[in-house]
Symmetry: C2
Subunit: 244 residues, 2 copies
């Protein structure tokens, strides 16, 4: 029997021209598009006529089960995630649930994740070895996040930080910077980008010490440079090591 | 005076439908497209009529200067890189040279980097905090790479490895695995993907111990799972932490 193939689609930061061709095709061919309401709205009017289904935040397990259940009805299903579906997205949860739905199979379609799209706005901060760390402790113990921050700093990685703040975690970026400041000098060049690929994108560069006291929100991606990073003309750049 | 804007374009893994809309537009609007010969060839016949310029490998500085010089002649220039131009690409080198060309400015257009596109093929290995490390010691001292491998393992990051091998560095993945095996158990699930988004994409999953003796090449991206990664149905998946 042919299995029902569910497409797990990374839509990038939100703007349609930052999606890949294969992501657009997967959504065009879907009968049902499932996602978090904000992202469905960002898809705009392009996909009129599709059935749109969603669940609120923190109901990701229900949302994924919905995708399997719709697929089992014989419908063509695309599950959308912002950025890349495999980076803090729902791809791994779908694989975790897959064994319960024996007649389904999965295809992940990659998208531009915030680390990459924000880096392009800021200049070239990720142009050497880097780490991506989420400060959200909803699903991860804070001690593990703290350990990773320390190891990233010790390894002289560039660090991209996701979820640096939220209503309930207003001081998390401050806490993270305090840990990094035990290892990294206060003058280390850093940067941040807000609302990447949406209206009112804004960005800035600053020192690690200044970053500690910078107000950010859940739509901000934060960058801590490595020992070769520098600021040129308002842009954050990490050297690759070429001899000039 | 209006400055000459140079677009530094990430073309993704190679297939046109894995490029973003804005990357395609930047190439369509360019009069001159500059890149490494292999990538120019991958663009295929879509951009017939453009002027194509290239320099061989290890002549990246010359290639970047060529972009500035063409732009200064008043031509619309796009410099292409595989994957994301800001991830081991030429974006940072362009920023380093920018001050020498005062009437030019830069825009980086992000693309799907191999870490993301390979992860989508393998399953969902990067679905939690991760590091990206290149094993190429052409521009980076090996000791720094070694330190980063250790810190990534200590921090329980998923690790994506670029440039795991080349003609002159046949045993580098082996050396890297030996370092990781000092910290990580030999049974840790790993994976690799070759020729992502091109003909004959292949992938596999294995243990860290098996990875040590796996033959890879410069077109392979390698993944080392974290302590929650597991293999399901031939796919490598890292748990995000949802309660099922």
């Amino acid at each position: 029997m042919m299995k029902h193939r569910i497409y797990i689609v990374g839509m990038g930061p939100g703007r349609e021209d930052m999606m890949t061709g294969e992501a657009i095709v997967a959504l065009e061919q879907a009968e049902v598009i499932i996602g978090y309401p904000v992202y469905l709205k960002l898809l705009g009017e392009r996909f009129v006529g599709k059935e749109f289904l969603s669940t609120p935040m923190k109901q990701e397990v229900t949302r994924c089960r919905m995708a399997f259940e719709e697929a089992e009805k014989g419908k063509k299903v695309a599950l959308i995630c912002s950025g890349d579906a495999g980076i803090y997205g729902l791809a791994s949860l779908m694989y975790e649930l897959l064994s319960e739905y024996g007649d389904c199979e999965l295809s992940v379609i990659p998208g531009i994740t915030a680390a990459n799209s924000g880096a392009a706005v800021l200049g070239a901060p990720l142009n050497h070895d880097f780490c991506v760390i989420s400060l959200s402790d909803l699903l991860t113990p804070w001690e593990r996040i703290e350990k990773r921050l320390r190891m990233a700093a010790e390894g002289d990685f560039v660090i991209a930080i996701y979820n640096p703040s939220s209503h309930k975690r207003r001081d998390y970026l401050q806490k993270a910077c305090d840990i990094l400041l035990e290892i990294i000098e206060p003058e280390r060049p850093c940067g941040y980008v807000e609302n990447i690929g949406r209206d009112q994108t804004s960005y800035g560069v600053c020192s690690l010490k200044q970053l500690r006291d910078t107000e950010v929100n859940m739509f901000t991606t934060v960058y801590i440079g490595n020992s070769t990073s520098y600021v040129v003309d308002g842009h954050l750049v990490t050297k690759r090591g070429y001899q000039l």
